[in-house]
Symmetry: C2
Subunit: 418 residues, 2 copies
Amino acid sequence: MITLDYQNLFKVNALHGLDQKIFDVPASKIQDLLKKIESRGQGFYKILDDSETLLKINDYANTVKGKYKHMVVLGIGGSTLGITTLQKSLTHEFKNNIYILDNIDPDYMREVEDVIDLKETLFIVISKSGGTVETLSQYFYFRKKIEALNLEQKNHFVFVTDPAKGLLREIANTEGVKSFKIPENVGGRFSVLTPVGMLPAKLIGLQINDLIEGAKLARDNFYNPDASVNIAWQLAKIQFEMYQKGKFLNIMMPYSSKLKTFTEWYAQLLAESIGKDGIGITPVSAHGVTDQHSQNQLYHDGPNDKLIIFIELENFKTKLEIPNLYPEHAAVDYLRDTTFNELMCLEKLGTETSLTERDRPNITIKLPNLTEKSLGEFFFILESSIAFLGEMFKVNAYDQPGVELSKQLTKQYYERKA
Amino acid sequence: MITLDYQNLFKVNALHGLDQKIFDVPASKIQDLLKKIESRGQGFYKILDDSETLLKINDYANTVKGKYKHMVVLGIGGSTLGITTLQKSLTHEFKNNIYILDNIDPDYMREVEDVIDLKETLFIVISKSGGTVETLSQYFYFRKKIEALNLEQKNHFVFVTDPAKGLLREIANTEGVKSFKIPENVGGRFSVLTPVGMLPAKLIGLQINDLIEGAKLARDNFYNPDASVNIAWQLAKIQFEMYQKGKFLNIMMPYSSKLKTFTEWYAQLLAESIGKDGIGITPVSAHGVTDQHSQNQLYHDGPNDKLIIFIELENFKTKLEIPNLYPEHAAVDYLRDTTFNELMCLEKLGTETSLTERDRPNITIKLPNLTEKSLGEFFFILESSIAFLGEMFKVNAYDQPGVELSKQLTKQYYERKA
């Protein structure tokens, strides 16, 4: 199980740290927050019980098994951040057959085209509204290419979209393209455990039942009104209290190369959910040990406006020994009988300790390992902690009114041009 | 040539924007700053004249040409951020033969091992001090593997390190390993235009002479004390003045997938150079159009504590048309006779305009194209703007005292263990 270590917050001075008593909160308070969350009518915690959809995904995966050499996901934002995280965390960096086109950059699109064989490619088109202009443009582009090869659309596309509305849904209905539904009350940034993340995850060979099982574990914890055990609530409480002390930035820093993109998934969740009405926590991505040689100077000696959230991976899959070939040399004489695993661990300990000594508040989320179950648990802990955080800040964590104007302006530029 | 567009700063209200008169600065003031920079004794702008080293790199590249199937860079922080940026910006995402091991994550290291053939691999070991524990550990690891195959170290390793000091230099001298020198007065984060970046760049087929040529263009501009034309000074001035108005965060947001990692190179430069003595600007990476669907909500409606630095690519290599297959449908009816290039451009315009309307300060750096020359120019503009910024903030932009404690602590944990 995932654990949260916040002891360092009690060690930094009172101006920048916290007192243990912030966690002395009666169960009734947490129950109140849970009721408020419930009243929002959101589905992100209910979808875990939708075993029927998982079966449909499994069935579909069986029918397409071995039929395609390449898979390409077309989507943007919440439609792709989850699957990107799953791909990077759980599959081999250099041995996987999925390409995720989360941008409309023509140079990058061309590079993907260079390496896929359209005849053997399945496109997974993901858009909550079914009307996302970037995703539709990409879909049009590749559909035209597929049809130019006299191939049938329905053999090369599958959609994940709204159950009833939008252009993709209309096309699925009228042109017989296989499709999966995103529940109406689940927003993009909360959708990784719906077909948005689960369909491509299954198609690249991940154990989606384990992802859901891990998430359910976290959900049990989320429902628990005991302040001493509810990790999602604890994390939200820490972020909220730290914000009151001027920690407007949250640095998320996994000590794992495989979790580097996890921080981008979380960045959307935190930024888009809480960043409104003039308030908001700005997420910053870093990763250990690499960024000890980059951002670390700023985190130690710059403005004390950050809460650092370390992610520690307790068990790597691989254990690699460091053979010290120059044990007498001052630069490395302390490296004895050690592994890259231990070096990573002790460097993280050095960094968190020196930050704490300089009164820089930091906490650590500990992941037991990189498996579907742990990732499912982790996704859900963070989604549910954002739900708590929204109620603490008294904002609606589920909308994004601020992005409408720029979309309208782009549309206007086109209309003026016409 | 690269240009800087800061007109939006004059459009946002005075509380969050700037007045045009901040640029009314006499040449003597800029000359003073240039003298202060000169007095720091740093070499980052002098190295551009070192044509001898470029010749040596070209010669070496000729001798190893075609000999290796794979290349692996071992390094961390300033030793790898430059080459990573060059690789991602200028080479094909899926067709290049270089692996950059900028972390000691054992799972990721194993994945690289899985796909390289040691017998046909050249390791480029980069460490300024020659004593970076992570890089030495990786070097030991792969050297042992190479020797276990009865292969000779000197056929599989090349070093880039200090001219005189450190373990790597000692090994180069005593064991005959080919090596290149990093000038003593050039720090890691300013080293991309030394052999640190240039050697691996040449080995993956980039035109390093063009990189230097572009940087020289930028250097001419850096030396120009005319406030109306010196881009590096203008950028620093904007960052400095914005900081006085509470813009403690700089979001760097390229509208280009190929420039996504450029922001990580810049993040180190900004964070490590200026983040000291309790001050510092926190760099945040974003990328367009993707992050319009992620961070954009926060940037529009969250705390107004950010300066957004857009990077616009004026010409992509590829032009891709968007075939509008459903021109009557409301979701896309405005897309007519358009390209992904234009959509990207108009989305960026929509975003900067809506941010400006909400009094969110933003500027745009315009890159004419993605070529060695432009990248060289861009690297140098930012390095030299950081030099100006250091003098404006009255900090030494070239040291990093804050990271020493964590290194010592890690060493102590090992010593206690022994």
